[in-house]
Amino acid sequence: MAFRRSIKNRRRRRRIGSEFELPLTSMMDVLVIILVFLLKTYSTSQNNLSTVKGIQLPISSSVDTPTDSHQVIVTPEAITFEDERVVEFEQSTEALSASDAKYRFKEADLQDGGRKIVPLYDALIRARDQSEMLRVKSKARDAQGNPLPFDGIMAIQADKRISYDTVRKIMYTGASAGYRVFRLLAMKRDT
């Protein structure tokens, strides 16, 4: 008898469960709060610049926002160009514990008295050729009807521990490959 009552109770409980309504009002509240927060902090980007894991960018008070361009990312481990690692630095064992970045170029990677980074130069030339080819195919033309010239802008995103010597090598390599304007990137200071 008791067993039968228990089954009945269980069925009744199940019936109550099937009529349960999700409390949508509180869910709405949460979503509205998220929406307001996102709208308040919303900022769109005019570029597709990305970054790499572990990079420590310096903070700048510059108000200029970078537009789309070819990008070189420098960390104490490697140089990345357009999401592809082109140069791996040689690391010493003390670099693991040091607060300063301790890295050096492989000798085979350098040319022109140590100023030009060969793998980066090759990657820059490939990117430039590709960009010029796209401009030839594009319908956009200048006043004389010629394809738009290569803009030659290179964005450099470097870890704050990277030395000027490395940045200078990158700029020299860029200039050798036809890049004449350098954009040094940093994190924008919160106002």
Binding site: L31, S163, Y164, V167, Y172
Partner: protein
Amino acid sequence: MFKRPSSRRKSGHREVQLNLVPILDTLVTLISFLLFSMAFLNLASIESAFPVASSEAQANQLKTKPLQLTLKVEETQTKIWSYFELIKPTFVPHLEPGKPDSVRIHQALVTIKKQFPTEKSIVFEPNSGTNYDSIISVMDAARNLEPSDESIYFKDPATGREEVAKRLFPDIVFGNLMGDR
């Protein structure tokens, strides 16, 4: 005799349930759109052109000597000077080895800007060991005017009107890209 049925119950509030599901759908779609199109990486940029040497003819055409303001970061100090000696060189000691004092550099540059308010360019020569963080902080100090800085007025040569300088020396060129030190 029957009484007229009470109308109290009929005129009472009819329970209207707002259909929240489409509103929820809209909110979720909006949030997804905002999250996808949002820039989480808030980057700032400082532009610098590769230096191009002017020809001898161009140099001879110059009626007056240019300022050619140069900011050189050395091992222990920063030197601010003019190639044509139009200003007295200023030396700003580093805060600690390898860390330039960007506040005092900025103050020195504001003083120079007051003397040469139409000048916009500066040659920057960091030491090879200067880190990227210091490069950015010195460039910021050389380019931007702070709200706390005194207003610098100048006569615009194009319009002839008196204007307030909005920036310090915004055109920065690296002067030692070909060097080894």
